[in-house]
Amino acid sequence: MLTRREALLGSVLTAAAVATVGAMPAVASAKDVAGLPREKVTMVPPPFVHAHDQVAKGGPKVVEFIMTIEEKPVVIDADGTQLNAMTYNGSIPGPLMVVHEGDYLELTLVNPDTSTLAHNIDFHAATGALGGGELTLVNPGEQVTLRFKATRSGTFVYHCAPGGAMIPWHVVSGMSGAVMVLPRDGLKDDKGRPVRYDRIYYVGENDFYIPRDEQGQFKKYESAGDNYEETMRVMRGLIPTHVVFNGKAGSLTGDNAMKAKVGETILIVHSQANRDTRPHLIGGHGDFVWEQGKFANPPAKDLETWFIRGGSAGAALYTFLQPGIYAYVNHNLIEAVELGATAHFTVEGNWDDDLMMQVEPPKAIAS
């Protein structure tokens, strides 16, 4: 059992190591950065994304974000199963942060004193110091500010990585999100022609490993620390009990289904910090898909299903051609239907008989 005290002791040791790293001479010309314009971003919870320009206006700038860590119980399915969640900014996944290539992303990470554990953040978009993990470990009651230069365009995962077994445990407790670094001149298709999106949705996929009691019922724990040992045993089996979008089975359905109109182009950013997945839009396609999420590579065209490697984020651009209900799933259909990885789009507009029509409805077989 991990107590708050032990967690703190563990983090003090790591903090000492961090101090050593921090004492090294700075190589970056902080002075140059100091002269750059700054922009404060107000983030919004997924699947929505904060307002941003698709094509950068002006030169590089420092884009400021503040995220507060929240440890809290959350319900992850219709049965009321509880996860002792660890979250960036209160949501699973954490919010999508959008900047442009050449910008500086500056994050202030706050770990309030109501937390029981130390946390940090590893940006796959960043270079050095374990993605910033070494420079961002914050105990309850601390905050830290990290700045990194967005040198590569694309969609990138971020996640908590406080060392050893804490890393996977924090990640499968909800601590992951994504950064999107747009090319300064925006996205381009396979021929290098500019493409734009009318709407963007960020779908973070999580695998959860909730222990069960002798009767097979999911167990509830007072705090995150209480579940550590038993959760770790389930994790080692590598079979998740839940695979969900946006932190909860069904969280992007019904009133919360994602919306679009026929003729609109959407960009779906999909991240999975821990485990491979294969998004598929039932009844639609990926017109242009950056499967690995990196915009310097030309997008693949006309995909039916795309593969997101565990520990990465990808992006798919699609223009809706037909109205109706679309299911957006992890096309391991067992994970989609039984474990929770299903979202919906409701799409308004006119039906195109040329693309599809029911020539004859079901009737008795003609003899």
Partner: protein, 290 residues
């Protein structure tokens, strides 16, 4: 199983409520049973007629339409269980080896859940043999009659726009979302959802109920009144509750058994109706045939 005095007293109390006593049944039963069986409290509904939106999917001029609402009548008095079959009642069928254990392992005076259509049928057969009555699942019409003001029927997208089938899908999807029903998976004690105007308990609570009505595709006349043709699929039956849905016979957990989009049933259970035996049946039974 050990003898349970509490249960036995309960049996006697319940038995006084019905016309056919247990002792009477016992001597004639060809099966050997471990212990007496309770006969559930019944509600007897007089004959009547009502407007009923039919179960199934309906086409008119090759386009989906809302289920036709038909003036329907119940002719004979309908004897239906006041409560859904309970965990302990179902457990006795399991103890006799005539029913498979339910998926949900609850105890006591909760409705049995985690049971399929096939389980409900097995229970009805066993219960009939044990009590000497003729017990069966209600039809969709009978259930609706008994459910009365708590009957909702399908969550209905209305008539399809021939030029845009997606409108109906979107309407249906939004309607279902707007009902705002939150998942409510934990079965509660019998009676927790109150009684309806006809005295039945727990109608449209968090346990949906199997009926004996098969899923069907029907084509209706231009006037929308009569079914011109239909094809039944009796591998799928109508399930009634907060809303009407359709489930494969072997499904025990509604959450994974249907409703590809929208709200699935929280739980699957059932209650039975009793048919008054015909004179021939009574005669055969007295001669020792079942």
């Amino acid at each position: 199983m050990s003898f349970d005095p509490v249960f036995t007293f309960g049996t006697i109390a319940a038995a006084t409520l019905i016309s056919m006593g247990i002792a009477h049944t016992f001597g004639e039963s060809p099966l050997k049973f471990s212990q007496p069986v309770a006969v559930s409290e019944l509600v007897v509904l007089g004959p009547g007629s009502f407007e009923h939106p039919q179960a199934g999917e309906f086409l008119k001029e090759n386009h989906p339409v809302a289920a036709p609402v038909v003036q329907t009548s119940i002719d004979a008095p309908l004897e239906i269980m006041k409560y859904q079959v309970s965990v302990s009642e179902y457990g006795r069928c399991v103890a006799d080896g005539a029913c498979k254990p339910a998926d949900a392992r609850n105890v006591g005076h909760l409705p049995v859940t985690g049971v399929s259509y096939l389980d409900a049928e097995a229970y009805a057969r066993w219960f009939s043999a044990r009590t000497g009555g003729t017990w069966r699942l209600p039809t969709d019409v009978e259930w609706a009659y008994a459910a009365s003001e708590r009957f909702r029927g399908d969550i209905e997208g209305g008539e399809s726009d021939p030029n845009n089938p997606a409108r109906r899908w979107l309407t249906q999807y939004r309607l279902e979302a707007s009902l705002g029903r939150k998942p409510d998976p934990e079965p509660r004690a019998q009676g927790s959802f109150g009684t309806n105007s006809k005295g039945l308990a727990d109608i449209a609570g968090n346990v949906w109920e199997w009926t004996s009505t098969c899923y069907s595709h029907a084509t209706i006349d231009i006037d929308g009144k009569r079914t011109a043709s239909s094809i039944d699929n009796c591998g799928v039956h109508v399930v009634e509750g907060f809303h009407r849905t359709y489930m494969s016979n072997f499904i025990r957990d509604g959450k994974s058994g249907g409703c590809a989009v929208g709200t699935p049933p929280d739980n699957l259970g059932f209650r039975l109706v009793r048919d008054q035996p015909s004179l021939v049946q009574v005669a055969l039974r007295r001669l020792g045939f079942s």
